[in-house]
Symmetry: C2
Subunit: 285 residues, 2 copies
């Protein structure tokens, strides 16, 4: 099921700047019992992305109505929202009057091993995952860093580096040998009772789940430090986990050849997140 500017369609115009240049933004949102989870936060990030790329934001009400139309009968799904600069302009030059294209589509929730039908829990969330380091680097660009835009060739190339089904994610470094994030997730590590994650000033996506984890940790007096760090610093961590809006938090039990235990801080943050998600879903937040 796909809504393009409010109409059921499967296609977009060739002239759309999303297709021509990747000139747009997207959000990937978990759907639970007919409800798009952390929807307000996704729309906040989309709106911030629109300000950065100077694409007119279509308004919260319109997107919320269309999302409801798509999601209301779904127990568990993924809602993807794409917003492009629409058609027009001359080459890279944008048109004087931008008429954005908005695309909302509903997809089956991924079938992770050991997942129980009624919940988002799966074996990866319980036992953790193995990850590798990718060779493909993230480019450095402050103009695009942080936002979830449609220029994703780096992630596509990185994800094509491994086929081993025992490896669930690949970690990407930037051109300065700093660890930034996973191909489809943000990365955190715990060391000496503090939580660390990469600074996203020059590369990476500021995930909605990353923001929630940072806020929850700060609220519970677990210090959160955004900084630049190397592979070696990561490998000397006490605990490591990845996050995104679909998976929540997955502990990392192996990076390349280094093993990690699923630690107590990771379990604590998973607990905070579960409780917070339930509060938000039940409207108690």
């Amino acid at each position: 099921m796909i809504l393009v500017n409010g109409e059921y369609k499967e296609h977009v115009e060739i002239s759309d700047r999303g297709f021509q240049y990747g000139d747009g933004l997207f959000e990937t949102i978990a759907v639970n019992n007919g409800q798009a989870v952390f929807f307000d936060r996704h729309l906040d990030r989309l709106q911030a992305g629109c300000q950065r790329l100077k694409i007119p934001f279509p308004g919260i009400e319109l997107i919320a109505l269309e999302a409801k139309t798509l999601c209301q009968d779904s127990a568990k799904a993924v809602l993807k929202l794409i917003l492009t600069r629409g058609s027009g302009g001359r080459g890279y030059r944008q048109p004087d009057a931008i008429q954005p294209t908005r695309v909302l589509s509903l997809h089956p929730f991924p079938s992770f091993p050991g997942a129980s039908p009624g919940t988002f829990k799966c074996a990866y969330e319980e036992q953790g995952i193995a990850v590798c380091f990718c060779i493909t680097r993230l480019g450095l660009n402050p103009a695009l860093a942080g936002i979830k835009h449609l220029n994703r060739l780096e992630q596509v190339l990185a994800r094509a580096e491994w086929n081993d089904p025992a490896i669930q994610e690949g970690i990407m470094l930037d051109m300065h040998d700093h660890v930034i994030e996973g191909t489809m997730s943000n990365l955190f590590y715990v060391k000496n009772d503090a939580l660390y994650t990469a600074s996203l000033a020059l590369a990476g996506v500021a995930g909605v789940m990353r923001g929630i984890i940072m806020a929850l940790s700060a609220r519970h007096n677990l210090p959160v430090i955004e900084h630049s760090f190397t592979k070696e610093e990561l490998l000397s961590a006490d605990e490591v986990f990845i996050s995104n809006s679909i998976i929540g938090i997955w502990p990392v039990n192996k990076i390349a050849n280094t093993r990690f235990s699923v630690g107590s801080k990771t379990r604590q943050i998973q607990f905070w997140l579960d409780r917070f998600k339930n509060e938000v879903i039940s409207g108690a937040e």
Copy 2:
């Protein structure tokens, strides 16, 4: 007129990875008297891009046939060729069997001032253009540098920086303050009887016209040097020009507040290019 995988269409599937991630390549080709100019070289670059991104190349004969169908009745036009990884896969992960989407579209040739109907000549080619420096930087990424891929947000943001119709192009630097290229063109300068252009190992597009200019210069014993250079080095040049497949060579007569004369080396290279183009078009190459 648009051909999508050989059929006349105006649309592409929402699920196409070109739209979802900018997962593809493109070529912009001048059409002269029904013929796509320097077509072989554009297909060579497209094929090289396919090897870099691991997209199956559809074959020269098929693309040539479709290009002929679109171009044969056009005296003067622009042919755009887009090749994406098609639909499928899971998130960034590509499908096991890639079925690329190829899109060929024909567009009116841009109406540059002073253009004579029968030729590609215009006032910019004769008298030169004014250019500015862009604030938006090019990201650094060896995996993507050189190829003409669909991740073009940097160019879109750079092109949005000016509206002054007296400025025809913006020059982009990378994160290391090196001058790389224009938003839609490559950049050359002449200094002490040698021709210089940026190294594209970390950023930039290796233009087909850039390759032709370098080959013609070398053939005529004008030394061509690819290197890294700064704004200051550019501003101390004897002559400056930009190039792409649609405009050919346009001299630069002003960069920000610094004026340049249209020099004899630029005129010489324009002459070599004109002659070579005529040889190729008439089949004498």
